[in-house]
Amino acid sequence: MKVEFSEEALQQYKDILQRYPEKRAALLPTLHLAQQEFGWISREVMQYLSELMDIPVTVILDTVSFYTMFKTKPSGKYHIQVCSTLSCALRGSREIYEHLTSKLGIQAGEVTPDGKFSLVKVECLGSCGTAPVVQINDDYYEGMTPEKLDKILDELE
């Protein structure tokens, strides 16, 4: 499959370029855009961006690998991020994580065979006042318990 920005994304890319005195500075926002567009940053995506932006693939790879938010593997339809930093741990995030591994049958960094769920552990999501926190795609779920989580997962199609 050929990797290419849609018309709309291409326009957004042009807008990004305008904002910076140097092309290199547009790399991070363009990578965010690419992740939105393609779901994850594959080799092909990096190749495409390299040609589009005239930046060597090695430089792109170097940048992508530095920042944890860029996914270099496809994730599930529902990407579950469990905060495992201290404040959440003090309020039971470890139990939440273990509950998920046994319920979904996968470990952090893996995707369920049907492609529905992927699971990762992440650092503080910045919602520690109502810990433990789980993020599923863009939504935060706070004050989690295994029971609440079961209900949420069961409702996801």
Binding site: K23, L28, D62, F70, L86, L90, G92, S102, E123, S127
Partner: protein, 607 residues
């Protein structure tokens, strides 16, 4: 304020991330639908975080003739009751009130001891409407600055206020501005640091979500003061709502002429763009952040030259934290004197803290500098969750340290906190109780810094890894007698051998826990015992026969089927199978499960 009878009821729903995660969106939508369907005479609005996150969703109800109250834990069902009783029948539902005029609640101290400068608008305005901000003196400070003050006057005002950077290090803000102003060059930049990567911190997120325009206005004022034409806000990409609201605020400011060319008809032109991070903690460090805006790997570099001299694209750059900027408009409007009247000799104004961990009221508070930790945790935060015993509070995240119970009266100011070995930090306060293992706490932070080290400095990269290995082995009960010395030596070397603050401060959590809780380390190493009964390799769970009713609940929740027993019979936990996850302990309704240290048990059997 009691509303006058002619007005409609106004209902304001708290729609910050914390509110939305707790279900505020459902409440808002249900209410909206109901108002439209039944044509109710109610004005519906939304606002940011008022700080009582532990009671979200929060809904403020202003009914004519009744005191204005904020209800907590509002579900769609409760909302129905509120509409029926409060709005229709005029009865205040006192039990659900978090805050209300003339109504005493257990939450009173939460609000009474706070002074809101940075959070003056958060929870009071709809962050997506510029009109709300304008109605509360919004953009009056930049007006005053542009029309009546010279850049030098602005810098002097900020200097006299005593404002210090809220991003962690506490550098005097006015002085920083002066350096950037004095740096030669026509092109200069302002950067707002909204990376907020410290675990346990969410103050900046709340400010950006709840009152984005105060940050913009602070940046504008700084831009005028140092002679910059352009500003960037570097926001964590993990904060989508903050990004959205900042974007709206920027667009509205452009429309109204508060950003762009010739602002308010003067010669001052300034524009702001957003730049998203991508999940690297070290990017919060100013030189790394600059590298990241330039599109490079976010690696820190040696200072000097400081950004004030050589920053973004080699141009003089002034970088401040979100909270620092949010203070600025208030100082300009109310005067340096009024700001400096709050706080201690060297720490002026207020500080926003994010309360988390084993605390009753998790959330955000803003307190005058100089208040004691005890007041923040016990009076405002309500004390320890489940009324357990306070053990320590961790300040400043991975760069900070723990403060133990006997130092709870330490005042919140930069110097006093440094003396304890902790730091003011950016404002995270993680509270721990008697069930928290301090070795494990140190392990958490080292795990964090070790993962987030950018790898440039050998000591930071490898030294933190070595420290982590030692801490892990101690918590597993495999610690060696020489480990404590090794930790201290590594700590010293990492501090000395690292280029940026990440490495220089990474050993602090270990050093402070070693200083105040050495006995816990020793118990793990020499007695193979975790005094907090938290480390899984050093504890066991068992049933207390006298309390067990044989309800079978524990057997049902056990994920590994380690619990057996007939209904109405005393249950038994098989230690060979048990993974010590604590699920049974959490669910038991009869206090029939206890945590014990196998070594202690062995000793009593021996006797």
């Amino acid at each position: 304020m009691v509303s006058s009878p002619s007005e409609k009821t106004k209902i304001v729903v708290g729609m910050a991330s914390c509110g939305i995660a707790a279900g505020a969106g459902d409440v808002y939508n249900a209410l909206k639908e109901k108002i439209e369907k039944e044509n109710l005479p109610i004005v519906l609005e939304k606002t940011g975080c008022i700080g009582a996150c532990y009671r979200e969703p929060l809904v403020e109800v202003q009914t004519p003739g009744l005191p204005t109250v904020i209800y907590g834990d509002v579900s769609v069902k409760r909302l129905e009751m509120i509409l029926e009783k409060h709005v229709k029948n005029g009865e205040v539902l006192a039990n659900w009130v978090v805050k209300g005029e003339g109504i005493h609640t257990s939450e009173d101290a939460l609000f009474e001891k706070q002074v809101r400068i940075v959070l003056r608008n958060a929870g009071e305005i709809d962050p997506e409407r510029i009109e709300d901000y304008l109605s509360r003196q919004g953009y009056q400070a930049i007006r005053k600055v542009l029309l009546n003050m010279k850049p030098e006057d602005v810098i002097n005002e900020i200097r006299n206020s005593g404002l210090r950077g809220r991003g962690g290090a506490g550098f005097p803000t006015g002085l920083k501005w002066q350096f950037a102003r004095q740096s030669p060059g026509k092109e200069k930049y302002i950067i707002c640091n909204g990376d907020e990567g410290d675990p346990g911190a969410f103050m900046d997120r709340s400010v950006m979500e709840g009152d984005p325009r105060s940050v913009l206005e602070g940046m504008l004022i700084a831009g005028y003061a140092i002679g910059a034409q352009e500003g960037f806000i570097y926001v964590r990409a993990e904060y989508p709502l903050a990004v959205k609201r900042l974007q709206i605020a920027i667009e509205q400011a452009r429309e109204r002429g508060f950003l762009g060319k010739r602002i308010l008809g003067t010669n001052f032109s300034f524009d702001i763009s957003l730049k998203l991070g991508a999940g690297a903690f070290v990017c919060g460090e100013e030189t790394a952040l600059i590298a990241s805006i330039e599109g490079k790997r976010g690696m820190p570099r040696l200072r000097p030259p400081f950004p004030a001299v050589k920053g973004l694209w080699g141009k003089p750059t002034n970088i401040n934290n979100v909270e620092t900027f949010a203070n600025v408009p208030w100082i300009i409007l109310n005067g340096a004197k009024k700001f400096a009247a709050l706080g201690t000799e060297k720490s002026k104004g207020t500080k926003v803290f994010a309360l988390a961990g084993k605390i009753k009221r998790g959330g955000m508070v803003e307190v005058p500098m100089g208040i004691s930790l005890r007041e923040v945790i016990f009076d405002i935060g309500g004390g320890i969750a489940n009324d357990r015993e306070f053990k320590a509070v961790q300040l400043g995240g991975p760069s900070g340290g723990c403060v133990p119970a006997n130092l709870l009266d330490t005042p919140v100011d930069y110097e006093s906190l440094n003396q304890t070995g902790a730091i003011m930090g950016s404002g995270g306060m993680v509270v721990m109780d008697d069930r928290t293992c301090m070795v494990d706490v140190a392990r958490f932070f080292l795990n964090f810094t070790q993962e987030e080290s950018c790898g440039k400095c050998t000591f930071c990269r490898l030294g933190t890894k070595r420290m982590l290995e030692i801490l892990e082995r101690i918590t597993r009960g495999e610690g060696k007698p020489e480990d404590l010395d090794k930790l201290e030596k590594l700590a010293y070397n990492i501090k000395k051998g690292s280029l940026c603050g990440l490495g220089q401060t990474a050993p602090n959590p270990v050093l402070t826990t070693l200083k105040y809780f050495r006995d816990e380390y020793e118990a793990h190493i020499f007695e193979k015992r975790c005094p907090a009964k938290s480390c899984r390799d050093l504890i066991g769970y068992r049933v207390i026969p006298e309390n067990c009713t044989g309800c079978t609940l524990c057997a049902r929740v056990c994920p590994v089927n380690a619990i057996s027993g007939e209904r109405k019979q005393v249950h038994y936990i098989n230690p060979e199978i048990c993974t010590r996850c604590g699920a049974c302990y959490e669910v038991c309704n009869f206090d029939a499960i206890e945590v014990f240290s196998p070594v202690e048990l062995a000793e009593t059997v021996d006797e």
